[in-house]
């Protein structure tokens, strides 16, 4: 079998059960669901504080009718955050490196925002295709361009997440392989390990990736529901 650097992204299986199932269920184990006490433990406190902060930040520009989206957006954010962070641990599998999964998240969400806008305020959402103040001659061209940009959105959402995570993991594997094979020749080793460490800290920006994802999702919802 041709062994390339992309082999790390194949979903390993044991007895027919792919690791992706465990990797998708793992984030749910980190969050405590029900606590009958008034004062919970430290972990729950931290998590609840973060979730509240994030939800308030996310939902503040949206109008009241859009608040129904708060639970799905927050849970999406938490899921992607945990999946990406858990993928940074050694030997783990990151489901969001699979384009299929990210498109499966991006396309339905985007389509829901578009259909919501078209159903509730069709004139306003069609009006978004033409920015204000354009010269009359440019109108046909601009509508075509805006329609194309509207349809590119789910593709961009899915591919952005996939490409960022895949590139990060690949870079880490590349630099660590280089470090390992250059081990006999000492002087370059220390510099390369420093590069690996730097790369790992840059990869913590996977966290920022999620912010980008949900913020873009938010942006499209925002445009639809707020005129």
């Amino acid at each position: 079998m041709n062994l390339t650097f992309f082999n790390q992204f194949t979903s390993p299986q044991i007895m027919g059960v792919p690791l992706i199932m465990l990797a998708l269920l793992a984030p749910s184990a980190m969050f405590q669901t029900q606590n009958n006490r008034w004062l919970t433990n430290r972990l729950s406190l931290l998590q609840l504080w973060m979730i509240n902060l994030f939800t308030k930040q996310l939902m503040s520009p949206i109008s009241k009718t859009g608040y129904q989206w708060s639970i799905i957006l927050t849970s999406l954010m938490i899921m992607l955050l945990m999946i990406n962070l858990l993928g940074l641990l050694p030997y783990t599998f990151t489901p969001t490196t699979q384009l299929s999964m990210n498109m499966g998240l991006a396309i339905p969400m985007w389509l829901a925002t578009v259909l919501t806008g078209l159903r509730n305020q069709p004139t306003a959402s069609l009006g978004h295709l033409l920015p204000e103040g354009t010269p009359n001659l440019l109108t046909p061209i601009l509508i075509i361009i805006e329609t194309i940009s509207l349809f590119i959105r789910p593709l961009a959402l899915g591919v952005r997440l996939t490409a960022n995570l895949t590139a990060g993991h690949l870079l880490i594997q590349l630099t660590s392989t280089a470090t390992f094979t250059l081990l006999p020749t000492m002087p370059t080793l220390s510099m390369l390990t420093m590069v690996v460490l730097l790369l790992l800290s840059i990869l913590e920006l996977a966290v920022a990736m999620i912010q980008a994802y949900v913020f873009v999702l938010l942006l499209s919802l925002y445009l639809q529901e707020n005129t």
Binding site: T4, N7, I14, A29
Partner: protein
């Protein structure tokens, strides 16, 4: 301590003797609801022992994450040995250009 013999069905796993293990396993119910109840019991007991305490530390989640890493390693084992073999055969030129997609 052992004043009255407890039926095998009701003993907990740490109290089961090694020879009784197969018969003890036979008394457990492996129906879906039984399995979910068992998983729930394990989850709740871990939660209450390590996380749901007044001054929980990092040990609670650190153990979970380490266990996750170990399980991932086991799941990945043959894939990893294949990669190690490829790295050992040709040390410097162990890679080819990726010509297949993701």
């Amino acid at each position: 301590m052992a004043d009255r013999p407890v039926p095998l069905k009701d003993t907990r796993l740490p109290d089961v003797k090694l020879g009784q293990l197969p018969s003890w396993l036979a008394t457990r119910d492996f129906t879906p609801s039984g399995l979910t109840r068992a998983v729930r019991r394990g989850y709740d007991s871990y939660l209450n022992k390590y996380i749901n305490v007044k001054k929980g530390g990092i040990g609670g989640i650190a153990m979970v994450l380490f266990g996750y890493v170990v399980v991932s390693y086991i799941w990945n084992y043959e894939h990893l040995t294949m990669q190690v073999a490829a790295l050992d055969l040709d040390s410097a030129a162990g890679t080819t250009f990726p010509d297949e997609g993701i």
